[in-house]
Symmetry: C2
Subunit: 276 residues, 2 copies
C-alpha cells in the first residue's frame, strides 16, 4: 500500500485508528478457550467488529512468539484473515526488529515477502545498514522507533549531544537520508506530545505511528493538535483499551464500541482540521 | 546456567567459542534439500560436529522467522536437540528483542520459559523497562547490545554527549543499575577492539559476547588481548565462517575443522593468559 491509498482510506473511513492485536491468551474471554484456536478466533471477532472504524491493524509479535509454534500459527492465520477479508486495512507487524545487514534482510523477507505486511516496526540502535534492507521493498514501510511511549524511553532517547540535540532527533535527522515519506514512518509515543512540534518541523510529510493512547494514558486531542499534518499523517494505535474492554460473550461488541468511540472523536478532529 | 558453570565449561573445553546458527536455507549444502527438514538436519550435523570445540551456540532468529511456521519449527527442534544432547552448551537466542514492559515480558517468557534458553540478545533503545522483564529469571542472561560489529553501528552508538560520552558507554553505565554480571552480558563487536580497554574498565566482571570474527573481519588475538578478564569473560561468536565453510557432503567435517582451528587458537590464548 502507498500513502495515497492510505490517505484515501483515512478519508473514506473518517478515522486514523490502528487496532493493536496484543492478543494475550491469558486475557482473552475465557469462554473462547474451549474452541480449537482461541487466539485466532478472538482476533477474527475483534477484526470483524472493529474493521469499520480502523484503518490499520497491528499484531504485536511478542504475544504470538510467547506461545511458540502455536502462537506463530495464530499470527499467520490472523495475517491471512486480514489480508483476504480487509484489503483496505494497513497491516503493521509490531516486531521492533533490527540487526546487521544480512540478518535484517531476512527479517524484511519474513514480513514483507512471505506475510505481505505493509509495514514493520524497526529499532534504530544498529544504524543505517540495519534498516536499509527493509527499505528495498516498494510500497512497504519501515516504522522506525524514534520516541517511544514507555516511561524509560527517556534513558537513551533523550541522551543529549554537545549541541543539545537528543538522540531521538538525531535518529530522525540521520534516517531522513535513508528513505522518504513513501517508505518510512516513525513511532512517536502519545505520552511525549510536548515533542511533537519539533518533530513535525523535521518530518512534516511522514506518517507518525502513535501508540500510548488508552491503557498508557496519552491524549488523542493533544496528539491531533500537534501531530496532524496537512493530509492527516497520523496513525493512532490503541490495543488493550479496545480488545480487552470486555471479557464476556459480548467482548466483540464492546471492542466495536470502544473503536467506534475513538473513530468518532477522530472524525470530529479530521472535520475540525478540514481534512475530510 | 550460571557463570560458575559457564567458566567450568570454558576451562574443560579450553574454548570460548560460540557457533552461530545463521542457517540460511539458500546457503546450506544443496544435497540436504532432499531430506524432510533440511535446516534441522543441517543444524544437527553442524552441532554434532562442532560441540567438542564450542561452549555456546547461537541460533539467529531471523533465519528461522524468514521461513514462517516451517522455520519456527526448525528453530524449536534445533533448540530441543541442543538442550537434550548438549546440556553443557550455553544457548543464546540471537533475537535482539525489546519493547514496552508488558511486551518484553512476553518475549522473555518465549525464550526463557518456553524454550529454556540461557540468554537472549536485547536492544537497549527503549530503556530500562524494556530490559527488566528479562532480568527476572534466575540463571538467565540478557545480552544487551552495546557496541555492535556492523559498519553503521557508529550512527548512534557513537552519538556523543556534552561530556564527550558516547551512547554505548551510557548504555553500559545505566544498565549496570539494572542487573549484574550474573544476569547481564554485553554485545561488543570484534570490529571495535579499540574500545575494549574503556569497556573493561566499566565492566571488568561481565561476559562480553563478541560477534564479528570471521566473515566480518575481527581479530581473535586483539579481542583476547583487550577483552579477556581474570576468568576469561569472553564468548566469541563465529557463524558463516564455520557453518558454511564447505558446501559438499563433507560440510560437517569442514565445520568441525573450522571450529577446532578457532578452539585451538583460544586454547593457546587461555594458556598464555594462565586461565587454564
Amino acid at each position: 500500500m502507498n500513502t495515497d491509498t492510505l490517505y484515501s482510506i483515512i478519508r473514506r473511513k473518517k478515522s486514523f485508528l490502528c487496532v493493536g492485536l496484543d492478543s494475550d491468551i491469558k486475557k482473552i474471554p475465557q469462554h473462547l478457550l474451549s474452541v480449537e484456536r482461541p487466539v485466532y478466533e478472538f482476533n477474527k471477532q475483534i477484526i470483524d467488529a472493529t474493521a469499520p472504524y480502523c484503518i490499520a491493524c497491528k499484531p504485536n509479535l511478542a504475544f504470538y512468539e510467547s506461545r511458540g509454534l502455536e502462537g506463530w500459527r495464530d499470527f499467520e492465520l490472523t495475517t491471512n484473515y486480514i489480508k483476504q477479508n480487509y484489503p483496505d486495512i494497513f497491516l503493521i507487524a509490531d516486531a521492533k526488529r533490527g540487526d546487521i545487514g544480512n540478518t535484517s534482510k531476512m527479517y524484511a523477507s519474513a514480513f514483507f515477502e512471505n506475510l505481505n505486511y505493509d509495514a514493520v516496526t524497526v529499532a534504530p540502535y544498529m544504524g543505517e545498514d540495519s534498516v536499509k534492507p527493509f527499505l528495498e521493498f516498494k510500497n512497504k514501510f519501515v516504522i522506525l522507533l524514534a520516541l517511544t511511549s514507555n516511561p524509560s524511553a527517556e534513558n537513551f532517547q533523550y541522551f543529549t549531544s554537545k549541541l543539545n540535540k537528543p538522540l531521538f532527533i538525531d535518529v530522525i535527522e540521520k534516517s531522513l537520508n535513508w528513505g522518504n515519506s513513501e517508505n518510512m514512518m516513525y513511532v512517536i509515543g502519545a505520552t511525549k506530545v510536548s515533542m511533537l512540534v519539533k518533530i513535525r518541523e523535521l518530518i512534516p510529510d511522514h506518517f507518525l505511528l502513535v501508540p500510548g493512547v488508552g491503557a498508557q494514558g496519552g491524549s488523542l486531542k493533544d496528539i491531533a493538535e500537534y501531530g496532524l499534518n496537512n493530509k492527516c499523517g497520523l496513525i493512532v494505535n490503541a490495543s488493550r483499551s479496545i480488545i480487552f474492554s470486555d471479557s464476556t460473550n459480548d467482548f466483540a461488541n464492546a471492542a466495536a464500541k470502544a473503536a467506534k468511540d475513538l473513530q468518532s472523536d477522530m472524525e470530529k478532529i479530521l472535520a475540525a482540521f478540514e481534512l475530510i
